[in-house]
Subunit: 110 residues, 2 copies
């Protein structure tokens, strides 16, 4: 099994910690690829601001960009999400834990 | 189904975007609860620095703290991770996608 670095997880989680970036990924999840201007279209945000978000997503490996003439096409590259999910998956048993135990713990606070 | 706010996801992903915070959660995942000093013990970091990380985790709802006398006990509260996982889960089909298609897309770059 491939050992994924802490830095990759840092970048993935940080990239996902923004609603605009998650919305960009959601848009890319619905299409095979989109140009930067098509991607930016529904957002009430300047194109440079969108491009900065795309830079963060691209640095995290979540978006691939390919230039054809003057058009930059963007595509979702979800592989880093798998590593994030694998990390989260280890905690699955905790969120199905009995909430009563937690309530009892918090009630100890006096 | 409960509708989780963007802000909650922002906080969860941002809290997870740091290797020390992920390591703190991993330590809490192994024990029912740990005092702050027990938690801090293996880290080459000051106690105030660890406590700042715990604040971030607590703000994100990932750690619960309960004070008994002078001892603050910490406990993993993994529920926000479930929401993060649900978000990521929607993209699962993309990371099992044929990588050749992506390679072809990137090669269009000229």
């Amino acid at each position: 099994m491939v050992k994924y670095s802490d830095q990759a997880l840092d970048r993935t989680f940080a990239a996902l910690a923004d609603p605009t970036r998650r919305a960009l990924l959601a848009r890319l999840g619905k299409r095979d690829s989109l140009s930067v201007s098509e991607l930016a279209q529904p957002f009430s945000m300047s194109l440079p601001a969108i491009m900065k978000h795309l830079d963060v997503l691209s640095d995290a490996g979540l978006v691939a960009r390919a230039k054809t003439g003057r058009v930059v096409a963007c595509r979702l590259t979800a592989a880093p999400m798998e590593q994030a999910m694998e990390w989260l998956n280890r905690y699955q048993r905790f969120w199905s834990d009995n909430l009563d135990r937690l309530a009892a713990f918090v009630e100890e606070d006096s």
